[in-house]
Amino acid sequence: MDNIYLPYLATIEDIYEEAPDVRTCRLVFKDPKVRDTFDFKTGQFALYSAFGLGESTFCIASSPTHKGYIQCTFRKSGRVTGGLSDLGIGDTMGFRGPYGNWFPIDKWKGKNILFIAGGIGFPPVRSVIWNCLDRRKDFGDITIVYGAKSVADLVYKNELAQWSRMSDVKLVQAVDPGGETPDWKGKIGFVPTVLEQAAPSPNNAIAVTCGPPIMIKFVLQALNKLGFSDEQVYTTLENKMKCGVGKCGRCNVGDIYICKEGPVYTAAEVKRMYNDF
């Protein structure tokens, strides 16, 4: 019987502690058939299970250009993420997905890409960043604006260092006022403000943003101020989900089921939705 609620089993191959309570797990499917055929597109999400505790939804944080494994990054904050955090290398996680739509990066060929992320909203953006970097010649300028509450809360620190060394990537890092350390060399300020100061050009550009709802709201305003139209701005909406397949009825924003028609939308699409997120 075809069972849409049955997850794949995956082994945790590696764990990186990104920030306090935030970790990235590298997963490899146990079933060799799945391992060989599994594919996804950047921006899609999945349901990860800690068996005995349940399933939790987050994006696939790695890029589909990196074959053979997937990564997920999550913050330990509830029952399931708590359980996932208790797992170690070699332990088993459940994985159901990939679900939802994706960032249409094939349509962005030749454009400048601006990434704006805040806090734990970085993982979906990171997947797109790696996807674009792995096809670097397809795109124009690449700018990354990333901020977190404090220096400790910045995730993907190694990769941030790596990107800061790349000559063809412009990286702007920021922490909220009060979150800096004495040797902090990045900006101090909230992401929307830092974005306005960086003043990237809207010409031939696409912006990709993800972060807490309040940040997204002000980032969209800042982008409008900079001259970005709503069609140029992409974001990913994360609502609570249980099934991921358009049945359980809780991720809807009006008549839009985020798990099926989303989670990736342009700002123009978001503005047409019912104010229900």
Binding site: M1, D2, N3, I4, Y5, L6, P7, L9, T11, K30, S49, F51, G52, L53, G54, E55, S56, S77, G78, T81, D91, T92, G94, P212, P213, E238, N239, K240, K242, C243, V245, G246, K247, C248, G249, R250, N252, V253, G254, D255, Y257, K260, R272, M273, Y274, N275, D276, F277
Partner: protein, 340 residues
């Protein structure tokens, strides 16, 4: 299709035969001082004098609690096994036309794109034998939402009560026809003279214009209308309406068990509960009760018809009957219909 005749005594024989074959026979019966759809073991348990059972029969297609997978956890990893279901034939006798019409709505949501075989296998094995309504109460409003008390929609077999307590029986679907052919010794030819009881006359609620309600809801501007807060103020946020509703389909998925083995279970859930949409971060898109109630109303009269081209509301009136504060969905329809 041809009309047949089912005598009451043959109904009893039909039940005995079906149960003998291992089928489940669901019918209106008494359960804790009220009429409910529940399995019966013999003819005598059936209640014939009823308006509509307090529950819908969706629980026989989409059980309130259903295990979808089982697992055991040990040192070397996790053993995971998906549950296979082989439902027994389930005959739902005495369904009402409103309930029968709801099956299409459940089917739509469980089958758009991904297919939920737990639902499909159960529905495949269900035979819906609807009895047209000869009585209604002040909560019934099927005609207001464009159904009728003798509608065929969703039924496999439609029965009409006769004055003698027997039934004129019509097969509506191939499944229904097959069922009647299988038991043709019980479904007799129609006698030359019989007097069917008149179908109840339910007047559509004059102040309600369903099309207008739908149009009004479609306009995203109206989402912020202060009316919502006012209309839903008395709502206490229980799940009685959603659990009684034949088209409400929302569910939760939980793990239960010990540290070493357990089950993954699909449980009915309700959009009326505060924690239904609560994010782990603490953000809740529907943080107050009127927003949750607005979602339910929108789902019935806007999202469902638009998205699944099916009915979100069949007018059974259960949400009105079970509501502890008598929050009446038709009154809200009236309010919205009266807006200019």
């Amino acid at each position: 299709m041809t009309t047949k005749f089912l005598k009451k005594e043959n109904l009893g024989k039909l039940i005995d035969t079906l149960i003998g074959e291992g089928s489940i026979f669901v019918a209106p019966r008494m359960g804790a001082r009220q009429v409910v759809y529940a399995p019966v073991s013999k003819f005598e348990e059936i209640v014939f004098d009823y308006i509509i059972p307090i529950n819908s029969f969706k629980e026989f297609l989409f059980p309130q609690t259903e295990t979808v997978a089982a697992f055991s956890i040990h040192k070397e990893g996790v053993d995971l096994r998906g549950v296979e279901i082989e439902p027994k034939e389930t005959v739902i006798f005495g369904s009402r036309p409103c309930d029968a019409a709801s099956v299409a709505s459940l089917r739509a949501v469980f089958n758009w794109d991904f297919k939920d075989e737990f639902y499909n296998r159960r529905e495949d094995k269900a035979v819906v034998m609807t009895v047209a309504c000869t009585k209604a109460d002040d909560s019934c409003f099927c005609t207001t939402v464009n159904l009728t008390p003798d509608s065929q929609k969703g039924s496999d077999i439609l029965l009409q009560e006769t004055s003698g307590g027997d039934y004129a029986v019509e097969a509506i679907t191939e499944k229904g026809k097959g069922f009647m052919d299988r038991f043709n010794n019980f479904f007799e030819p129609l006698p030359t003279a019989y007097s069917p009881l008149p179908t109840v006359d339910i007047k559509p609620i004059a102040g309600v214009d369903v099309q207008k309600v739908k149009e009004w809801l479609k306009d995203t501007k109206h989402y912020e209308n202060p009316l919502w807060q006012e209309l839903a103020r008395k709502c206490i946020g229980c799940g009685a309406c959603t659990f009684a509703c034949p088209t409400c389909h929302c569910f939760d998925i939980v793990d239960e068990g010990s540290a070493f083995e357990g089950e993954r279970i699909k449980n009915w859930d309700a959009c009326q509960f505060e924690f239904f949409t609560l994010h782990t971060s603490g953000h809740n898109p529907r943080d107050t009760q009127y927003k949750r109630w607005r979602n339910r109303f929108m789902c019935k009269f806007n999202f469902y018809p638009n998205k699944f081209s099916s009915r979100g509301c069949v007018g059974c009136g259960r949400c009105i009957r079970v509501c502890p504060v008598r929050l009446d969905i038709t009154e809200v329809m009236e309010e919205i219909s009266s807006l200019r």
